[in-house]
């Protein structure tokens, strides 16, 4: 027995599987069974990339104007009812990933372990590990019901590594009748353009928080990020305040980043934020409050006013 048939739901963004999804395919491969990947939308476009990471099959769900979550969950359920029997289904902790697993968990009557950073199989016993309290405690939970086991993973839990496999075979799966649950329709799709390196892939991230005082001061963060060829980020507080788009958010509900250098300016270090950046190799923090929790994890902490420190830092870097 063991874990021999694994499904992975891959989140596709800008026409390619996200690195968080490729991580899961890489991890799925290590169980030694077959790996099939589910995507919402065009399967042919991603079959090459997914095959390269070890997927042998791509189930592609053309969801039309329906929401991807309910569509893919229903297609998965129909496929299982049709005779497929996955032992484990892995999801990225992404917007669509969460919707798919939540709907599917009810349809299958199975629990789902979320925010996992690791998974282990010993015989038929499968356990997932989740960090809690901002990451200072690791809880390992074992599934007690029957397969399929449903688990969702935080980005950057595993290293994506290509296996050099051939393009995966694509199988189109139609969306079953969704009834009332299918009455929500997408009427327009908006893509927010970003320039420079992507936040979750950048080698340097410079993030600003409420300590900046007002939204106009965020320009300092952008300038500094550009000078360092990095990406600008933000705390939830200033995203909620509408200073910058949600795509800038670093933290539990935003992006998880692990750059070489993370600069936190005017960020106190709420658990919600620290979860998303404490894996950075080097952390520099600038904050007025010397009691701010961010100093507890910073390699270099400056107790000072960001309005004084940042302009001088920018000037010094520009002069180089």
């Amino acid at each position: 027995m063991g874990i021999s048939n694994i499904w992975v739901f891959a989140q596709v963004a800008n026409g390619a599987p996200t690195s968080g999804s490729l991580e899961l395919v890489t991890k799925a491969r290590t169980f030694g069974g077959t790996v099939s990947v589910w995507v919402a939308g065009d399967g042919a476009a991603v079959a090459g990339a997914l095959g390269e990471y070890g997927a042998s099959k791509v189930f592609a769900v053309d969801y039309g104007q329906n929401l991807a979550g309910v569509s893919v969950a229903s297609a998965m359920k129909a496929t299982i009812d049709g005779g497929e029997s996955p032992d484990l289904i892995m999801f990225p902790q992404s917007y669509e990933g969460r919707d798919v697993m939540a709907r599917l968990s009810v349809k299958l009557g199975r629990t789902v372990l979320t925010n996992s950073v690791d998974i282990e199989a010993a015989g038929d016993s499968v356990s997932a590990t989740t960090p809690i309290f901002g990451g200072n405690t690791l809880v390992t939970t074992t599934f007690t019901g029957g397969a399929p086991y449903l688990a969702a993973f935080r980005p950057k839990s595993f290293n994506p590594e290509a296996s050099g496999g051939a393009a995966a075979a694509v199988q189109a799966v139609s969306v079953p009748d969704l009834g009332a649950t299918g009455t929500a329709k997408i009427t327009a799709v908006h893509v927010e353009e970003t320039t420079g390196p992507k936040l979750d892939e950048a080698n340097i991230v410079v993030s600003g928080g409420r300590g900046l005082g007002e939204s106009a001061n965020y320009a300092m963060i952008e300038t500094l990020a550009k000078l360092l060829k990095g990406a600008p980020g933000a705390s939830r507080a200033i995203v909620d305040a509408g200073w910058v788009p949600y795509s800038y958010q670093v933290g539990q509900t935003g992006k998880v980043v692990k750059p070489s250098v993370y600069i936190a300016a005017g960020i106190s270090g709420a658990t919600q934020h620290m979860v998303g950046m404490k894996g950075s190799k080097n952390i520099i923090a600038i904050n007025k409050d010397k009691e701010a929790p961010i100093f507890g994890i910073a390699d270099l902490g400056i107790v000072g006013d960001v309005h004084k420190v940042l302009p001088k830092l920018i000037e010094a870097l520009q002069a180089r």
Partner: protein, 275 residues
């Protein structure tokens, strides 16, 4: 059906009653460090609980939508140990009319799926609603699946991660957050939405509201009252097998700014060879 009724049914409804149910969680104050109960391995939820700040946005949104509709009311459903109502009173003080509280020692150890079934049953106890609102995830457990699970249990359409919401002529319009940006979504009612923090500015309860909240009805029920079994550890498809401390990240050098500390940052970056 008489002609008169048909006519009413076909008339575009500019004005309708909106009944909204908000799922709220009462959590330990996030300002205090969390802890696990040594025997049960569940999050300690003793002492005074507060309204999860993430839920205040949903309560505010519900109040605004009912105001805009002209009639209707906002009800709350919550699951908490020890008959806890402190957080519910905050939401009632903001303007919600009533609440169903599911409090039952048997619920300890419940997984997200059981929680969703319990909350869905509590929603049905209230007779359902035109709209059900939840936060995208709680600030203590943050499983982040309960809203969508409730929608599936109730057979409702849903829009998760809604960052802008309006209702026109009985149809919900929402901007839903995506990996690449956002989607505009329309959805007929009844429906469920999960709203991101910051979708609206939550009001502070007024003194009058706080006084009125004390006498608003809170219907306290058990899992058995709702007909949901099994619950707690018995119903959970999971069991905690190990708890370990993560490797702590040590604090480095912390220095007071004297006007020249920017140089320290430059030196630090040079040392890492990133500039």
């Amino acid at each position: 059906m008489s002609d008169g009724l048909c006519e009413t049914a076909h008339k575009p409804q500019e004005w309708r009653t909106m009944n909204v149910i908000v799922c709220v969680k009462q959590i330990p104050d996030p300002a205090n460090p969390g802890a696990l109960d040594a025997t049960s391995n569940t999050l300690k939820r003793e002492g005074k609980l507060i309204l999860d700040e993430s839920d205040s946005y949903g309560v505010e949104m519900a109040l605004q939508l009912v105001d805009a509709a002209g009639s209707g009311e906002v009800s709350l459903v919550s699951m908490a140990p020890n008959s806890e109502t402190a957080g519910l009173r905050t939401a009632l003080a903001m303007g919600a009319a009533k609440a169903v509280l599911v409090s039952d020692p048997a619920l300890q150890g419940s997984d997200a799926l059981t929680t969703a079934k319990i909350l869905a049953a509590a929603i049905q106890r209230l007779g359902g609603a035109d709209l059900i609102i939840a936060a995208t995830e709680s600030s203590d457990g943050y499983t982040g699946t309960v809203p969508e699970q409730i929608a599936e249990v109730l057979g409702l359409p849903s829009v998760t991660f809604a960052k802008k919401v309006s209702i026109e002529g009985g149809v919900l319009k929402a901007d839903r957050q995506t990996e690449e940006g956002y989607d505009e979504v329309t959805c007929p009612l009844p429906a469920l939405i999960s709203v991101t923090a910051g979708v609206v500015e939550p009001r502070y309860p007024s003194f009058k509201g706080i006084m009125a909240a004390k006498s608003k009805p809170v219907d306290e029920v058990t899992a058995a009252d709702l007909g949901v079994t099994p619950v707690g550890w018995a119903g959970a498809g999971q069991q905690i097998s190990n708890i370990a401390q993560a490797e702590a990240r040590a604090a480095g050098e912390v220095i007071e700014d004297d006007g020249e500390t920017f140089g320290k940052i430059v030196t630090f970056l040079e040392g890492l060879k990133v500039i």
